[in-house]
Symmetry: none
């Protein structure tokens, strides 16, 4: 048997741009996911560390940026983290303490540019990979840069056997993990690349809370014959700084919903295993039976027996262009 993994998607949000408070939330939620729900893998939303500045336009219009917008960007920049950094170490420590593999959205700072990044933290090896979002959407393009082909990991993680009173009686097992952030999930060639490397636990940190998001999560599970774990933020006005932009300034209310969640776990045959949830601060957990993948690929394997590699050839450059700047001697 290929094994069963218990996985959680954590529906939560950044604590009003406070790094310290957000890390505390992370530690508590991670503890709950594991110690209460038995999770071996936990997925947190896009931009959980650093925050998703929903409704802001950073004072920018076509041809103009305002001084106050620059100030707002500076505050946002200051809340982002470097990789590695003490924040990363603190996250690694928590993963190790609870023996949970974590995939989490963070705002990454690299010199002057911010990236919307997903980090992969192994409980034993610590930070093992990161993925930078390839194409920001809409106004995100004025605050985030584009990732390149060097951060498209599909990595194999080990999940220990769990022998306590957990009814699933899980054995130690291994599975391949990847992450696509928000509308990257609409990029068919990125998905194909992940499928071609055998992704089994397809993580989708997001802030897209539209109802149609559910169709896309179900479609990807079916198309890729993989488990899809989508963690979305759920945030109210109270979860942002008081001066943060809102939909309707005339109707400010701490309880107004800014991002309405929709986290979900879908099986390789398109069955909803958990969610979608519209609750704030929720942990959704499911047992992922990896054998469902082989059962599913029986009739569809888009990079295997269902491919037409004679007609369609996808070539993927995974070279890092950025490193070219920094050391030409290699």
């Amino acid at each position: 048997m290929a094994g069963v993994i218990r996985a959680s998607v954590v529906q939560t949000c950044t604590a009003a741009y406070s790094l310290e408070n957000t890390l505390s939330k992370f530690e508590i939620l991670l503890c709950l996911a594991k110690e209460r729900d038995g999770a071996q893998l936990a997925v947190f939303p896009e931009a959980f560390i650093g925050g998703y500045p929903k409704m802001s336009h950073f004072g920018a219009v076509v041809g103009e940026r305002s001084d106050s917008g620059r100030d707002e960007f500076l505050r946002y920049y200051q809340g982002a983290i470097e990789i590695p950094s003490p924040t990363i170490s603190r996250i690694e420590a928590a993963c190790k303490e609870h023996n949970v593999f974590v995939v989490m959205g963070v705002i990454e700072k690299d010199l002057g540019t911010l990236y919307c990044t997903a980090i992969f933290v192994d409980p034993v090896a610590g930070l093992v990979a990161k993925h930078r979002k390839l194409v920001p959407t809409g106004t995100e393009r004025i605050i985030w840069g584009q990732g390149d082909g060097s951060t498209l990991p599909v990595l194999e993680a080990r999940f220990d056997a769990i022998t306590n009173d957990n009814p699933a009686g899980r054995e130690a097992t291994r599975a391949k993990i990847s992450a696509a952030i928000c509308w990257e999930n609409y990029m068919p060639l990125l998905r194909t690349y992940y499928y071609s490397l055998g992704t089994q636990l397809y993580c989708a940190p997001t802030v897209d809370a539209r109802p149609q998001w559910q169709s896309t999560m179900t479609h990807i599970a079916l198309e890729g014959r993989c488990f899809v774990l989508s963690a979305c933020q759920f945030a109210k006005e109270a979860d942002y700084p008081p001066d943060h932009a809102v939909a309707d300034k005339s109707n400010r209310n701490a309880d107004n919903i800014m991002i309405s969640g929709g986290s979900v776990i879908v099986s390789p045959l398109g069955e909803i295993l958990a969610g979608p949830s519209r609750e704030p601060e929720t942990i959704l957990t499911a047992d992922l039976d990896l054998d469902q993948i082989a059962r599913g690929k029986f009739d569809l394997d888009v990079c295997g027996h269902y491919a037409r590699t004679d007609i369609f050839q996808l070539h993927t450059r995974t070279q890092s262009n950025l490193e070219g700047y920094r050391d030409a001697s290699k």
Copy 2:
């Protein structure tokens, strides 16, 4: 304005493998779609001409084909059509008579091999293109061959202005049409190729009636920012020859549903414009406002501003290899 096209998806089924009766159904349904509902474009299901032998395995098991299975195949082979052929001419005549552009699933015979094909019939120019399904699914693989890269058309059709009492008051307009049959819709590279050529009216003839099909149709509309027109068969046991395979031989009943429909029309922003229907013999019609495509591509254009062609390069061979056999000197 890019224009508005009134389009129908026709939920119907083959008439118990009778070519004559099926053509009669086609002519009646096409007449209704146009003269009652005002359709300029009509999409018919997969394998409408020729039939979809649901539940049959043609006497084949691993390592063996039975004589009765070969007989069943022969019957099925005899019901298939050649392109061109008198049947095609009759379809062309109906399209011309009613001034409707038709996309329809047929079983095509080419020497000894059958193909699951979609034909494109222009009311003026007649048959203008065909698309052969690239990968048959499951047991289909024992009855249908694989298409190649030479039949992947994305063609521009012209739709006449309609000046009668039709409330839409449509002007003459043009739009690009393509077709992906049944589980081809799960092939991300095929879809990407179609998107890259600008498909606007993405036709999806199918016999997949699972509820999850709806997720995929909605996803494709969103991913490709195109109208998705999915026509599915609706068939009962009575719609097959009396000796045809059924799910449960002990419970034969002419009213048992073999394929339960689910035809649907979705807009480029993921809105359901018509359907999904679970009725037999239904015509679903909607006005397709082509301007919705530009509106949608404002924030997502997966082969344009949302592509990463520096990382992902898709090469598509559209050469026909089969023709090479026949004469290299011409």
Copy 3:
């Protein structure tokens, strides 16, 4: 129904190099095949007109040709026929009289070179095509030239309905015919070319009487899913001029067998329908149910669903180079 054709393979031989006597034999055998056995198609052996100079080496050794060998060649050359010619007209007349389609091996003369040719004579249209053997075998290479790509016909013939007391009650039908002569049948690319054009009645005029020939005939029927009709010569010493070469000069005997027949008809599923015969002057006849081809292609169609045209591409030049000599301005 695709129809049933009654076909004969005629096991006979040239009448001691006499054109007149051989044509008389032809007329008698054709009459028998049709009027006694009901044949609509009759296949005659390789080199039936002109003769197969078995056991001769025409006085040639490496580096030398003898005068007597040239004389022998001259005699052989004089017995060959041009296409068209009065001999062809006489053959056409017999085909018309008996309403039989004939495929027959002849030695064709074109200026100074002889070709081992198969002619296709339609009862209505007369000579409709010819095929020149592409590669002579062994010592044949010193007497016959090589055909080129311009004489590789796969043509569709019409067979009239036969309403007399023939038990098969055949309807008018059509079928595709081709011919491969003797060891051309070992040329996989020639066979593939014929299959790709849909040959249904694969004629194999030959003089190869080895037992292994039967394996090849059965294999081709299976590989190509076609009817194989192999007509072999049966000849004794008495069927050659008295001075003709023999295997053992010390044991000349008019009854010694020179070519021992083995004519056979095989179905597309590898069943022997008639023969192999080792009798002199025999007509083998079988009813060919064309539906067996579709039944057979259900699980094997080497130029259709069983091809890998993405990997293997066969290009065939069917241009005549010889005509280029003669006038480029037309």
Copy 4:
């Protein structure tokens, strides 16, 4: 002298889907082939490792896959092996211990897709190549993917001199080996490609036990002027799991024959050197005198003096398309 090689074809079957038991059988049979019969080359049947699920249809009918069919596929998937893998290492060790070159059919697992593969294991170099079947036949198409042009090896193997009491007194020699699996043997272009690379030991692992198979093996030997070594499974019901599909459920009997063998060795001139055998668990052995190949090519060399490359040009793509997915930057 070109040398003599002693070769065995092993007629056996998978041990009721047990990998461990099948490997044990392999080790015993390999030991016998070498230590008792003196084999330097041993060919095992198609799907020997992994099994050939004769008579099963994996719960699939046109348009439907059942849950129990998916379960059956999962069991079959779990019995397949990766290349390389510990199973491969164990096979390599046995080849090394007995100094035998092995060609063997295995079911190969590559991510979600299974392939029907032949492995080539050199006693010194270990696994040196593999060939994936290009076109599965009939219902095999629902369980196996298609190989591509990158696994069509014709490789030269070295066979040590054997100086013990073996009567053949073989010297060290070299010969070119290839493999075509089951009905691939009906693909004329694949065979031509192998011939063009000079295959001398044409291995044909199969499960086709029809009498007509013998015609095809003899034909290929003659056409390609090569030794043909066909190893077929011989299996009874007892050789399958108790719940496995059978021809007649009402007549289950452990002794019923599922696959009836027919392994055979044929010389380049079409002589049967060993077999065909209808015995279970048989080893057929013959001395292959490589000089017979030159003797045979004297009058037929279909890719040499008997080709018409001016008319027929075969182009073969041997590129792996699959690797293109994974990293274009290397």
Copy 5:
């Protein structure tokens, strides 16, 4: 039997530029060839009518033409004939009278340009064809134009049976005739074109009297497997006008040889049948056994079994360009 033809080559010369005297010589020589020697075919030298102005340069040097040279050209121009013309009629009458087919070199006048032409005169049909020399050699280029592809006849002539006391007892027969003038015989593509049309009686009117000419005549007979009939002029100073150029003005002598003959007849196997002669006014006659052609083509037929039309393709334009001037309405 293909037949035997008695043919003569006539070694003679123009009568000091006198048309009348030259025609008289022609009539006498033709009478002798037939009535004394039995010739059915007679070949006369290059420029027999009109003359070959050996040793003259017509006063031309590079960049200059002299008045006296122009006068000399005028005299030469006046001696040339038109086709048709009374001179042609007179030649036709002689051929008819003696029942001989004649090939003869003439200087043809067409408006302002002279051509070195060979005429073909049938005893029954009269003038049936002409051939204009394609490339004049050396200084000939200042007096003769170039022929085009429209005058390259290979025509079939009929030779009556001859029943008188002629020992050969020839039957009526047919043979193909062509002509190449002087160094045209060095043009391999012209010769190839003639061979491709089956020339049997290859006529070579010339004035080349070098010893090496014999090698070329023998080579062409062998290469083309045809009879070569080369008629050369034999001329002394006395055969030119008194003021004509000579090799050595200080040694004028009526008996000095200007052109030394060398007429010859060669068989298709390279045997010399008559000549070469160095006598003035000689008629060489030989019986040409056409069967020698088939005997010879047994081992060499450069446009048949010995061609490589797949590699070398010769295209020949036989359109008349000159006619394009004259009538654009056709």
Copy 6:
């Protein structure tokens, strides 16, 4: 000055099919040609390595090959060489040692087919090209394949200055070399192709010892305005294995002449520079003054000023079709 090259044609024969002895002869003769006669270029006869099986018919008659004939072919096959191979290396070493450019006839083995090949070995660069005979003659057709358009080299070689006591006082120079083997010299289109590429040293390895061969050599020199170097074998019965075929078995005598030489060197104006020789084991040497070529082309250049490319167009395919088999993806 274009330069002078001293060239030898070596009249010799294969040493009774012994590769070792033949190579020794080669090394001795090459040494003599250079160190005694000063040759910079040496031409050896057709089939010198491998042998010319004069008078044998390899047991083949029309329709039959005998076992003893196959054995004889096997012996002949075993004496042939591959290109490259250790034999080639040994030839290269000798050429380098003596600083001689060698053109030599060899029997080449390529998988199952033999070719009659001429190799071009440069003293510095080693093997630089090969030419395979395009059309074997007569009985050669049963032992040799046909070359294709890819081995028709006309290559430029460099000849070092020679400053020793050689009276010619040759400077370093360059010249274009080609080869036509035996009756290829009768192929007008092959010769034209060579002329069109500017061949200057036209090598004609042969075994044709007829007197008429001399006419053809002289004609080619004149037609192509090139030096013709024809090296013919001279062989007695003693030069063949004792069991080899002879003209008259009743009169076996070691001194009987099998091939009687006739090697010759001809200038571009048709002068005999050396030979023809009827001596065994002879080296004929001549100084080739390349300026004679321009002198000769003054009045005849059949691919230049004497061509009629408006009428005759020769197209030559120089593509190798054989390589197409092997990998179209490279």
